[in-house]
């Protein structure tokens, strides 16, 4: 791959992660366990989709410079599943509140260090997006950490649900820190972080909160990967079917 292709893939990956996770969170809108938390998860969805727009606008600009026509909308609404570069964790179903919380917690704990790194990286556009998104990620991390503690250290029922969520999601967490070629390129170019260093910070964040929540940090080593290279679980198809329906059925529709 050429340098520009690597950069495009990297930016697309950053965009797809937050679009798909944001879309999943937005499925809670109107269905939250209580009104305040319905508003909270919807606000987090809004922040994530806003971050996605910033990344997609940059990705579209990069492809236009290569003479390929693309817009933020065409990248979000007109690509197929195998073109999406999001981590498998982002596309997993919401399940119950415990699973949604844990998914957000795992992601936010990754995003804070990723965005802090981008903010001082060599790519000025990614640095600007990262610096802005970092502040939002910190807020999301605190909120999701509190919920992990509240549920993990709550009732027998809430604890059991956190354990089940952990069981379902853990195998998707390794992908966050398993680099694919465009990430290795980004690390080499000083644009993206070294994921092996980010992994250490992430593990520490998770262990600290799990200690308070009375949850056991899993010892399982085997991890499912592939999303960052377009090999997804069946769940992504359902997200895209709903998210892209309007633009597929009525191309160019605006309201």
């Amino acid at each position: 791959m050429s340098e520009s292709t690597f950069l495009f893939q990297y930016v697309l990956h950053l965009a797809d992660d937050v679009l798909i996770l944001g879309h999943r969170n937005s499925e809670w809108t109107g269905h939250g366990p209580i009104l305040e938390q319905d508003i909270a998860i919807s606000n987090i969805a809004l922040d994530l989709i806003g971050q996605a727009r910033n990344f997609y606008q940059y990705a579209a600009q990069l492809s236009n410079e290569e003479g390929i026509s693309a817009t933020e909308d065409s990248l979000a609404y007109l690509r197929d599943g195998w073109d999406f570069r999001n981590c498998l964790l982002a596309e997993q179903t919401n399940g119950d509140w415990a699973k949604t919380i844990l998914r957000q917690f795992f992601f936010s704990a990754h995003q804070v260090d990723l965005y802090a790194w981008l903010a001082k990286g060599n790519d000025t556009t990614l640095a600007a997006i990262g610096a802005k998104a970092y502040k939002e990620a910190i807020y999301h991390l605190r909120w999701s950490s509190e919920w992990v503690i509240r549920l993990g250290d709550g009732t027998e029922e809430s604890h059991a649900r956190m354990v089940r969520a952990l069981d379902e999601l853990w195998k998707f967490t390794g992908e966050l820190h398993t680099p694919v070629p465009y990430e290795l390129w980004a690390t080499g170019a000083g644009i993206g972080p070294d994921l092996s260093l980010l992994r250490l910070k992430w593990e520490e964040r998770i262990k600290n909160i799990f200690d308070e929540a009375g949850l056991t940090y899993p010892s399982t080593q085997w991890m499912q990967t592939g999303g960052k290279e377009g090999r997804h679980t069946e769940q992504l198809g359902y997200v895209l079917a709903e998210m892209q329906f309007l633009q597929r059925a009525y191309p160019g529709c605006e309201w």
């Binding site: 806003g50 600007a128 997006i129 509190e146």
Partner: protein
């Protein structure tokens, strides 16, 4: 109203004063100047450029604010207006004017505290007491970190028992 503006008549101060007419659609008591999202105004001949920055990455009011800026300047005869969005440096509540904070409080929204106490990642870590905009008590309680817009959290006053929005530090 059509009016001709050449470089001698267009002043940055004039453009700035016209932007006072543009309010944040979600917190209509604040102008975009009070909010601190106008980062620069550039004038070149009859061309005007207004540089703005979003409060939050996903702020849904940005498109409307862009339209309103164009309309407000258009009403005063400025037809050649470009509105540019920048992300860096990232917006902070430190950029909100004191006048803006006073207007917020009078409107029933607690203005942001100074920045140093906030956004700590430690769970259940609370920032300094938030003052109730109704009865001015500091005896208040967080109900939810998130509120009716991306920039607000939900509080309740333990003295006057009224719920209120807090414009969260950022």
């Amino acid at each position: 109203m059509e009016r001709h503006h050449d470089s001698a008549t267009v002043s940055i101060a004039e453009i700035r004063s016209l932007l006072k007419e543009v309010n944040d659609p979600e917190v209509p008591v604040l102008s975009i100047l009070d909010l601190g999202i106008v980062r620069d105004i550039k004038v070149d001949g009859d061309k005007v450029e207004v540089v703005i920055t979003p409060t939050y990455s996903g702020c849904p009011a940005m498109d409307m604010i862009r339209t309103e800026i164009g309309a407000a300047l258009g009403r005063h005869g400025y037809g050649n207006v470009r509105i540019t969005t920048v992300l860096s440096p990232a917006w902070t509540t430190e950029w909100m004017s004191q006048e803006g904070k006073d207007k917020l409080k009078a409107y029933g929204i607690a203005p942001p505290n100074p920045l140093q106490q906030v956004c700590h990642v430690r769970p259940f870590q609370r920032e300094e007491a938030v003052q109730c905009p109704h009865c001015h008590s500091y005896h208040t309680r967080l109900i939810s970190e998130f509120g009716s817009t991306a920039c607000k959290a939900l509080y309740r006053c333990e003295d006057c028992k009224e719920p209120f929005d807090y414009f969260k530090c950022h």
